[in-house]
């Protein structure tokens, strides 16, 4: 039997983080999106200890203010794309600027500098990623997926999907289905 999971990475990370902080007896206040306010001054020794504990989970303490902001941009975008409850009526550039209280130009430059990609590309990448998840679930038609991801038409979604991944949504669906069948077969063999 193969089970398929859907994760909320943010929630998982949050839980792991709180666990580790509690284990290290650090008083903190959760601000959300990977940001934690430590309510005491940490000694260098204690900071190293925490860093080592987090490294097991490949969690990094980000000291750089720029990195923190980039992470916030990413989190906001992911939330915007994946979270149904977040309804964005304005352009994503406006939404980002308002939410993060920085000019879009600043955010955009900063983002490209740190991540080797643009905010626009990152948004597209995340949208296509979400589309992939929905396609694999096979619960929704392409039309519904296009609507849900704010595309004007299926053709628009298909074009962007193909431009981003090099393959069409139907080919993607076919490949993943056959790949799973193959894995299943290998397991039973």
């Amino acid at each position: 039997m193969t089970l398929f999971f859907k994760f909320d990475f943010n929630a998982i990370c949050q839980i792991v983080l709180e666990q580790i902080l509690n284990d290290n007896n650090i008083k903190y206040k959760s601000v959300g999106f990977g940001e934690i306010e430590v309510l005491e001054k940490l000694s260098k020794e204690k900071q190293d200890q925490l860093q080592n504990a987090l490294a097991n989970y490949q969690i990094d303490i980000v000291e750089n203010q720029k990195s923190i902001l980039v992470q916030k941009i990413k989190d906001t975008i992911i939330d915007m794309v994946f979270n149904e409850d977040v309804v964005v009526n304005v352009k994503s550039s406006v939404y980002l600027a308002e939410t993060l209280e920085h000019s879009y130009g600043y955010l955009s430059n900063l983002f490209s500098e740190v991540t080797y990609t643009s905010i626009e590309n990152f948004i597209i990448l995340q949208k296509i990623e979400f589309a992939k998840q929905l396609i694999i679930k096979q619960e929704f038609s392409l039309t519904e997926i296009a609507f849900r991801l704010n595309y004007s038409s299926v053709a628009h979604l298909s074009t962007q999907f193909k431009n981003t991944t090099g393959i069409t949504p139907s080919a993607f669906q076919r490949i993943i289905a056959k790949r799973r069948a193959l894995n299943q077969q290998n397991k039973t063999d």
């Binding site: 080797y116 990609t117 992939k132 694999i136 991944t165 090099g166 490949i175 993943i176």
Partner: protein
Amino acid sequence: MQEDYINITLADDDEDDRLFFTDAFDDIKITTRVKTFNDGVYLMDYLNSDDALLPNVLFLDLNMPRKSGLECLKEIKQNPKFKDIAIAIYSTSASEEDIENTFIQGANIYIKKPSDFKTLKKVLAEVVTINWQYHTNSMNKDNFLLRF
């Protein structure tokens, strides 16, 4: 701790192609370390050795003497040790069916070798960037399919 460079490995029996490949990476913004092998056997011997530095992205030429890219792909997919490696097929040409088949076998990326150096650089840069996104944003690699 995240590494601040990406490990790239290529297995290709063609000397010119290996040259184009390494030259192309010199111009890419993301810091990469490129390692090349002359065929599939050399590659697999290295990957299976204990002190191997596993690449983030592995480029496989399909048509190689001794051990083909497809054979390497199957071997790699059967070994859980290599589950984090993104696999890019790097081939002269193939039919649509062959391309789909390599995806089904577990390849993440299919690159038809461009006949233009600029395009090659662009494609490789994009592969590395997108892989970087997957890598740094903990995205589900199972859904990582990319074709040029």
